[in-house]
Symmetry: C2
Subunit: 222 residues, 2 copies
DNA sequence: GTCTATACTCTGATAGAC
DNA sequence: GTCTATCAGAGTATAGAC
C-alpha cells in the first residue's frame, strides 16, 4: 500500500476511536508506520488535510455497504433489519469502538473546523443521493426513498452513539425494527397498488411474509 | 448562580459545540467568567470532573423535555412528529450547532476516557428507563415502550449529527415521520385490542385521524 | 521520498498571594 | 473563595540531512 494511503487509513481508524482533536500527529505517525515528516510531505495541509482524505475515503467505502447488505434480501424490510443487526454485531466484536468516523468528526468539531464540516456534508450528500437511488430501484417512490434514507442514516449514526455509550446492541435492534416495519408497509402498499411500474431486479416480490395487509402507513401525514 | 454551576453550564455549552478534547481550561474559564484557579477549587478532578458534572446536569434536563413535548398531544404519533420538528427548529435557530453534549462526548472519546463513558452510559440508562416508563403510561406495552424509546433516542442523536453536518432539517423530519408512523400503528392496535387495560390521562384517545385501520405492524417480527 | 531534530505555541495543572 | 503567575509537558509544524 502507498504511504499516503496508509496514513489516511490510520487517520480514519484513529478518528473513529478518539475523534479529531484528541488525535495527534505523532500518534498518527506511529500508527501509520511513517515519520512525521512524511505526513507533511504527502499532506501539505497537515492534520486537517489528512482528516479530510480519511473522511472522503471512508465515506465512499461506507455507502457501498448499502447494496451489499440489502441485495441478498428479496424484500427491503428484512434487509434493513438484518443490516442493523449486522452493524450491531460488528460493533460489539470491536469492543463497541468501531463508530463511523464521519459521524464522530461531524459531532465533534462541525463548528470549529468549517473545512471538515464541508467535507462531511459532501460525504453525507452522496450517501443520501446514492442511497435514495438504490431504494428507488428497489421499488420505493422517489419521495419515500428520500425519507427512508434520511431516517435510516440518522438511526444508524445515532445507534452508533448510543450503543457505544451503553455497550448494548439494543439501539441497533430497536432502530432496525421500527425502520423495517415502516419500509415493509411501504413495500406492501406499492405491491398492492401497481407492481408493474417498477420492474426491479428482485423476483416475485409478492406481499410480505404473512403480513400482507396492503395498507400504506398514512402516506401524507403532516 | 453559584460559581460551580456557572462553570458546569459553560462546559456543557462548549462540549456540544466543540467536544471534550478541543475544549481547554482557559477557554472554559473565560466562558464561565472565572479564573482557572476557581475551576480547580470547585472541581479537584480538573477538566474531566467538570465535564462529568456537565453531562449529568444536561442529561437530567434533557429527559424532562420528553413529557413536556409529548403531553400536549392526545396521541403519541403526532406528538413524536412534532417533537422532532421542534428539535429541528431549535437546532436551525442556533446555526445547526446545538447538539446534545452527551452524544458528542460519547461519540468522541468513549474509549479514551472510560470515566466519562461510564457517566454517559448512566445518563442514557436513565433516559431509557424514564422514557419507557412515560411511553408505557401513554398506553404502550412495556416491551414496545422499550423498543420505541431506544429507536427514538437513536434517531434523535443521529439526526443531530446529520443535521449538523448537512445543515438541513430533513434528517429530523424524516426520522420523526417514520417513528410517528410506527408509534401510530401501535396505538391503533392497542386501542382496538383493549382500551380498558391502560386508563391513561388522555381523553377519548380514539383511533387515529382518518387512519384507523387498527392493524399492528407485525408485532413479533424477528 | 524518507527520516531526525527542533522551533514555537498552547495545554492542563499547581502554588501561593489576597 | 478568588485570582495571578508559572511549570512541565505535549501539540503542530518546519528545516534540512540523507
Amino acid at each position: 500500500m502507498r504511504t499516503d494511503e496508509r496514513i489516511a487509513l490510520a487517520m480514519a481508524e484513529l478518528l473513529r476511536r478518539q475523534g479529531y482533536a484528541a488525535t495527534g500527529i505523532n500518534q498518527l505517525a506511529r500508527a501509520a508506520g511513517a515519520p512525521t515528516g512524511s505526513i507533511y510531505h504527502h499532506f501539505k495541509g497537515g492534520k486537517r488535510e489528512v482528516a479530510a482524505a480519511a473522511l472522503r475515503q471512508t465515506g465512499a467505502a461506507y455507502i457501498q455497504l448499502l447494496p451489499l447488505l440489502l441485495d441478498p434480501h428479496p424484500d427491503l424490510a428484512t434487509g434493513v433489519e438484518a443490516a442493523f443487526a449486522a452493524a450491531a454485531r460488528d460493533m460489539e466484536s470491536t469492543g463497541w469502538a468501531n463508530m463511523c468516523p464521519v459521524g464522530v468528526v461531524t459531532a465533534e468539531i462541525a463548528d470549529v473546523e468549517p473545512e471538515l464540516r464541508e467535507i462531511a456534508a459532501e460525504v453525507m450528500q452522496v450517501w443520501v443521493e446514492e442511497g435514495s437511488r438504490y431504494l428507488a430501484g428497489r421499488g420505493l417512490s422517489e419521495q419515500e426513498a428520500h425519507t427512508v434514507i434520511h431516517a435510516l442514516l440518522a438511526a444508524l449514526e445515532g445507534a452508533f452513539v448510543l450503543a457505544r455509550g451503553m455497550r448494548s446492541a439494543e439501539p441497533f435492534l430497536a432502530a432496525g425494527r421500527t425502520l423495517a416495519v415502516y419500509v415493509g408497509a411501504l413495500e406492501a402498499a406499492e405491491a398492492a397498488a401497481g407492481p408493474a411500474a417498477t420492474a426491479g431486479a428482485a423476483g416475485p416480490a409478492g406481499p410480505g411474509p404473512a403480513t400482507g395487509t396492503g395498507r400504506p402507513p398514512t402516506a401524507g401525514r403532516a
